[in-house]
Each structure stands twice: as C-alpha cells, then as structure tokens.
Symmetry: C2
DNA sequence: GGGGTGTATGTTATAACATAACGGGATGCG
DNA sequence: CGCATCCCGTTATGTTATAACATACACCCC
C-alpha cells in the first residue's frame, strides 16, 4: 500500500489505479470504443505516475515494454484517452495527466507548482469570463484554465 | 484608413497601431528598459497583424527586413514584449498576440475561434477557481485562461 | 471462402516550436 | 583603461507534434 501525493494532500493510491482502469474499461464498452492494450497500458502509466508527463516520457515507458517506439504511437494513445476524458492535456506544460475524478464530465482546471512541478486538478466554474464570452456571441466548446504558482509545500515559510 | 476586425467586431485600426507603439515606448522609458529597433519592429508587426502569430511567422517578417533570421532573435524580442506586457502568449496555439488593451496590468483571457483562427482578448476575472485555489493554499502567480469555440461569424446560421 | 469496410498499428520522415551556448559590439562607470 | 551589463548575431541542438503511407486484423455480407 503506497501513499502518494494527489493534489497537494497525501492519499492512499494503490487501489485507485486499479479501480480507475476498471472504470475506464467499463466506460469504453458503454461507448462502443476499444480500450486496446496500448491505450490501456498508457492509461495505467499515467495513473501510476500521477503527474504531468510529456508524450515522449510516456513513449519511453511504452517502448521499454515493447509496446511501440515511435512518436505517433504515444500521441495516438494519448489522443484517444484525452478524447474519452481519461486524461487531460496541460497546455502550459505541453504535457498530459490522468484525470483526478473521471466519474463525470467536467471542465478541468489545473494548479501547476512551478517549483516541484506538481499538478492538481480542480473544477472550472463558469465565471464572468464565460458570461462575457456569451455576450459577444462567442460559442465556447472547451476551456483551458491553468494557474501557475507555488503549492503549499513549496512556499517560503513565514516562521522558522 | 483601414478597417480590420479586432475581437469580433470591426474597428478602425490604422491609428491605434501608432498610438500603441508610442505608449509602449513611453512605458519602456518609464521602466528604464530599452525599446530597441528589433523589439519595436516586432511589436509593430504584432500590432499590424492583430492576430495570433507563431514565433517563426514573426521571424520571417523580421528576416524580410534584415532584422534577424535566426530563431533566438524572434524569441528574445517576443520574450521581452511578453515580459513587459505588450504581447501575450497563447498557450493553446503556441503563438503570440499583441495585447488588446495594454493600458493597465491585467490577467488576460482569450477566445479562440477554431474555424477562422481569430483570437479575442477579454479580462480574466477571479472566479470560484481562484477562491478554491486559495483554499487549498496554492499561491497563484499567473493564470492561463483560454476558450476555444466558434466566433459569431463562424457559427452556422439558423435561418437561411 | 472471397471481398469490402473500418479501426488500430507500425514506420518513415519531417514540420513546428524552443533554447543552450558562445562571441562580439555598444554603453556606462569607477 | 578595465570591467560589467545589455543586446544582438550565429551555431547547433533539443523538444514537441503530425503528415503520409503501409500493414494487420476484425467484422459483415454474400
Ligand atoms: Zn478531470
Ligand atoms: Zn510545489
Ligand atoms: Zn492584454
Ligand atoms: Zn471564426
């Protein structure tokens, strides 16, 4: 049983990988899309790592297991997982991360620590930005909400 | 006198380039930083174009005028302009765009039309996302707010 | 079984984006 | 002058992403 950080708080992590994989497979069956070995293993890697990974990092892991060595292999698997909502893309980092709560559809938002690189997923709420977009007649299909800063662990301590 | 789209509405555009350049130069003097020829011309290009441009697009324009042909020239000039707030980076597009209202410091937000590529700049307001970030103790330094969708001109018309 | 269709993979090559590192010229200052 | 700093130019390389083409396989229909 491992205890790894998710978000910025520690949590038991071993079982959630397995359950997330099982849930994803169930969703794929329900949607009539295929969770193939490469896609499944890619998702498993993302879940185990539980951190932002570049496509080439993922590719290296896949390659080490004989599942493909060329960029399109990783990009296609990641593209599928992003389309299905199991993985999110972090534009700011040109990287990917497993969804922290894939239960239901959502607009993700991220907090990226510039010091330790940890990425936490939150919910994006519709603020005045979305309202003003609607006012101008712009039809939003997708939003990118990413905040960069310092996570609690990386902030300078006030009292020594 | 030209009339080009800014945001999603037409507007007179000729004079605002000159005034924005003058304003930027004044700000540089005030801050004690140098608005050099390469930087100035880069900003002018961004203002004239008034659209998201890749660094290599900018570089091509600079090169055509003998102002530099190698990537670092463009990236350095753009980096300076971004640091000073005259230009914003669009993460989603790996591109840059001149600030639409550089008068005062602000957190920009963007609406990106996936059909025609137009990018409009809006103001990012602190919504519940920022609040929840504060709750978790995350200290935000910078935000990326980008919406992708269809601009008014590119939406399918309801009535023929 | 043969033939058509669609999806997923594998592979090559290249496009597109970005930076490290070095050297040189201008400027300012003690 | 000697030195620091900033800006610029260039070489080389690193990093991220996709176009384009070929192959494999499952599936359905006849
Ligand atoms: Zn998510
Ligand atoms: Zn941190
Ligand atoms: Zn702006
Ligand atoms: Zn449009």
């Amino acid at each position: 049983m491992s205890s790894d950080p998710i978000g910025f708080t520690a949590h038991d992590h071993t079982h959630c990988v397995k359950s997330a994989l099982a849930a994803a497979q169930a969703v794929c069956i329900q949607r009539g899309v295929q969770m193939t070995p490469v896609r499944l293993r890619t998702l498993e890697i993302m879940l185990e790592e539980h951190a932002a990974m570049g496509a080439y990092d993922v590719l290296a892991r896949l390659n080490a297991e004989g599942l493909g060595s060329k960029p399109p292999v990783a990009y296609r698997a990641l593209g599928f997982l992003v389309d299905q909502g199991f993985v999110h893309r972090i534009e700011r980092l040109n990287a990917f991360i497993a969804c922290a709560h894939p239960e239901d559809a959502h607009n993700p938002a991220f907090m990226i620590c510039r010091s330790c690189g940890t990425v936490a997923e939150a919910q994006a709420q519709s603020g005045t930005f979305v309202q003003s977009a609607a006012q101008t007649g712009f039809q939003i299909e997708q939003t990118v909400i990413e905040a960069e800063g310092l996570c609690p662990s990386c902030q300078p301590q006030v009292q020594p």
